[in-house]
């Protein structure tokens, strides 16, 4: 009797193990059958408006094409993409930014399709370049936006400034920033980031690389001048770093009216409308430096996975997403600026207040695409935390050393 019970229990234990193993093995086989008729889109969303706009676009295209599209907002896009690539079943379409291109292409994860698009030449040349590696244009740009200067109009008037005082040179910027820095308000707020000191480097005629990205130029005198100019603003109290104000980004300081001016891109619009609708402000192009006007632009594109089982449908869908009409649709829904040149006029007439983000693109740059740049930039940003007291030539010297290691 006792033995039978024991045997029964052992049998149950054994069975449960078997079923467990079966459960483990079961995944991953069933869902390939209908892959011919569906697309997965993975994207990093800025909020509900973006998700809803993308869902609406997917639905509209699905009705037309008969192909089902699932859009999934990612909580951590890089990580979820990486998991997809590792399992061999990545999302068909995903957001990709220029600094990711090299790693994705080197790993063979990107399907090169953008050259074949009819509209390939209608994207801004700066954007085409940003998504091109070894002469191949990999991904169709989704949006673009250059950094511009946002000005709080109430604080501006309170400081006795008028339209004529809008800064167009570094000297004028210094003057208005100093005038605006009163009563605990910071004249200009910057995050300690290449993405905020970069425009000054470009305006001084410098940059971290030459155009071909074959030679590091971080320690040039133009870059030293640019950083010393920003350091000067910080030290005479006209500018503040976000880290010293205890805000996550400069838009927060701007919204709380703790800062009269900030350098931000089109994403500022959505944040201000959502969190600080009472702030009255305007956006102008960045002032020009000793070497003329320049800014930095930021962009995302539609990447298609090389492993996708449905690349033709994916290309069709991306073509639909990047039509001027659809890009304007997105602009209305959540603010991104169309990446198509032919949509520029429509954008200008419909959104006259934010054209500074579009006008700044010409002659501006985004992050270099060379492999390993993200780490070098992270190290540079870490040093910029102490920009106020840093020895600029040695700071740039260490960046130069790290960049030279990349070009070897």
């Amino acid at each position: 009797m006792r033995r039978t019970t024991r045997f029964a229990m052992a049998a149950v234990a054994g069975l449960s193990t078997v079923s467990l193993l079966a459960a483990c093995a079961g995944g991953g086989t069933a869902d390939n059958a209908d892959a011919g008729g569906s697309l997965q889109v993975l994207f990093g969303t800025s909020g509900e408006a973006e998700t809803a706009a993308l869902e609406a676009a997917a639905e509209a295209w699905s009705e037309e094409s008969g192909i089902e599209v699932t859009v999934t907002p990612a909580t951590d896009l890089a990580q979820e993409l990486a998991q997809g690539f590792a399992t061999g079943e990545p999302a068909d379409i995903f957001y990709v930014s220029p600094e990711q291109i090299t790693a994705l292409v080197d790993a063979g994860n990107l399907y090169p399709y953008a050259d074949e698009l009819e509209s390939a030449d209608d994207f801004y040349p700066e954007l085409r370049e940003a998504y091109t590696k070894d002469g191949v244009f990999y991904a169709a740009p989704k949006d673009v936006g250059a950094l511009a200067l946002a000005i709080n109009l109430d604080l501006w008037e309170a400081a006795g400034l008028t339209d004529a005082d809008i800064p167009t040179t570094w000297d004028e910027l210094s003057t208005v920033a100093a005038k605006l820095s009163t009563n605990g308000v910071s004249g200009l707020t910057l995050s300690p980031d290449l993405a905020r000191v970069g425009p000054f480097m470009l305006q001084a005629g410098g940059w971290v690389f030459n155009d071909a990205q074959t030679e590091a130029t971080a320690d040039s005198t133009a870059n030293v001048d640019a950083l010393e100019y920003v350091q000067g603003l910080l030290n005479d109290g006209s500018a503040t770093l976000t880290t010293d104000l205890g805000v996550g980004w400069s838009g927060e300081a701007f919204g709380k009216q703790a800062s009269a001016m900030v350098i931000e891109g089109p994403w500022l619009e959505g944040a201000m409308a959502a969190d600080y609708p009472e702030v009255d402000y305007r956006v102008v192009e960045l002032p020009a430096g000793p070497d003329g006007a320049a800014s930095m632009f930021f962009t995302n594109a539609w990447g298609i996975a090389a492993e996708s089982k449905n690349t033709d449908a994916a290309v069709d869908f991306v073509e639909f997403l990047t039509t001027p009409e659809q890009q304007m649709e997105f602009a209305r829904a959540f603010g991104p600026i169309p990446a198509r040149i032919s949509a520029a006029d429509a954008y200008r007439s419909e959104f006259p207040d934010t054209v500074a983000y579009l006008d700044g693109i010409e002659g501006s740059k985004t992050y270099p695409t060379i492999a390993g740049f993200s780490e070098v930039m992270a190290d540079m940003n870490a040093q910029l935390f102490e920009l106020k007291t840093a020895d600029i030539p040695s700071l740039l010297g260490s960046v130069q050393k790290n960049l030279e290691a990349l070009t070897k």
């Binding site: 229990m9 467990l20 483990c24 590792a86 790693a103 993200s374 935390f385 040695s394």
Partner: protein, 367 residues
């Protein structure tokens, strides 16, 4: 007795034993299989990734993924460059985190356990209160700490009441030893001069945990001490009241009883707590991931977070896996050091007495 058993009985018995062994095997099989599939296989795979050139596409075991020997390890251990600097920085940060938080957490946990050990009225409330942070998710705790230690947060508000201008906490990359020296009027030496190890200058090695890291250390003191209090409490309950009474009769003071009776008898518990705390401290990740992402100025970068960053952000999976194995080696080394540090010293007199007592079968030594 067994040797004189009759043959058929022996056979029956061995059959029974075999049956029992089989049943035993079946019963442990689920656990063994689960451990194998979810623990040993992933570790072996990670080990392979750390010596391969897998780039994150497809399975690391597929053909085409090449063996690269120790190249991934060398890329940050021996080759000068950014990777080495990041690794050196992360080790420095975590070393300070461990050196400060382990003794701090252990001391607080022990103090709390001593306070709530004796049954007094209301102790249940305190036990629950002290243990509460341990069952709270570390993500929630981190978010609360971010609010408290914001430059315009509660902590600085309180400091401003006594006319102290608080630092920007989570945005302050300066080391606390560095700040102390600055307070004494000793300036930071000019950069670029002098000794460097793993890409980190001697000044940075010695400048202590940054202000931001100190916030994380305080958080560990709050969050982890409850768990370890519980372990100490279990240890304290094992010490019988008679021993303390005997010590009281011997005319000992409170401190003497703690130092010469309670603490030596807690030695095994102390080792457990120190080891667990040390392992947890070297693996600190979720606070960093939610709270700072290694900022400010990489002073909260830890090897565990670096491994994540290299793997998922830079697709350097081999390098990321290699860091985690180095971390494993460090933890092993520290555990051995602790064992050695807390070993029974038989040369001194109290050790001999202890040895004599153990031979007589003192139940409190049964850990």
């Amino acid at each position: 007795m067994r040797s004189i058993a009759t043959a058929p009985r022996r056979r029956r018995r061995s059959r029974e034993a075999r049956g029992r062994a089989l049943a035993g095997l079946l019963f442990v099989a689920p656990a063994v299989i689960i451990l194998g599939v979810f623990l040993f296989l992933p570790i072996l795979t990670a080990g392979w990734v750390s010596v391969s050139d897998w780039n994150g596409k497809g399975s690391p075991l597929q053909p085409g993924v090449e063996f690269v020997g120790t190249a991934n390890y060398a890329s940050f251990l021996t080759e000068e460059g950014l990777a080495q600097k990041d690794f050196g920085t992360s080790i420095r940060n975590n070393l300070y985190y461990v050196l400060v938080s382990v003794p701090l957490v252990t001391a607080i946990a022990l103090a709390l356990a001593l306070m709530v050990n004796k049954s007094r009225r209301g102790n249940g409330v305190f036990r629950t209160a002290f243990y509460f942070p341990s069952v709270t998710s570390s993500v929630a705790l981190t978010v609360i700490f971010l609010f408290l230690f914001n430059s315009t947060g509660v902590v600085n508000e309180i400091l401003s009441l006594i006319n102290v201008e608080g630092p920007t906490w989570m945005a302050d990359p300066r080391g606390i030893f560095h700040l102390a020296l600055e307070g004494l009027g000793i300036p930071k030496p000019a950069p670029g001069a002098g000794f460097e190890f793993w890409g980190v200058s001697w000044w940075d090695w010695l400048s202590g945990p940054s202000v931001a890291m100190t916030v994380f250390i305080l958080m560990a003191a709050l969050a982890a001490s409850g768990t370890f209090m519980l372990i100490f409490l279990a240890g304290l309950q094992q010490i019988s009241d008679e021993i303390e009474e005997a010590a009281i009769i011997d005319g000992t003071t409170r401190w003497q009883r703690f130092r010469y009776v309670t603490l030596p008898m807690l030695r095994p518990t102390l080792f457990t707590v120190l080891t667990l705390c040390m392992i947890g401290s070297w693996q600190v990740f979720d606070q960093i991931y939610t709270g700072s992402q290694g900022n400010p100025a990489k002073t909260t970068l830890t090897p565990a977070y670096l491994s994540y960053e290299w793997s998922f952000k830079s697709s350097d999976w081999g390098q990321g896996a290699a860091v985690s194995f180095i971390l494993f080696a460090i933890i092993l080394l520290f555990t051995l050091l602790q064992r050695w540090g807390l070993r029974e010293r038989t040369s001194d007199r109290s050790g001999r007495l202890r040895a004599a007592r153990t031979q007589k079968g003192d139940p409190s030594e049964d850990h």
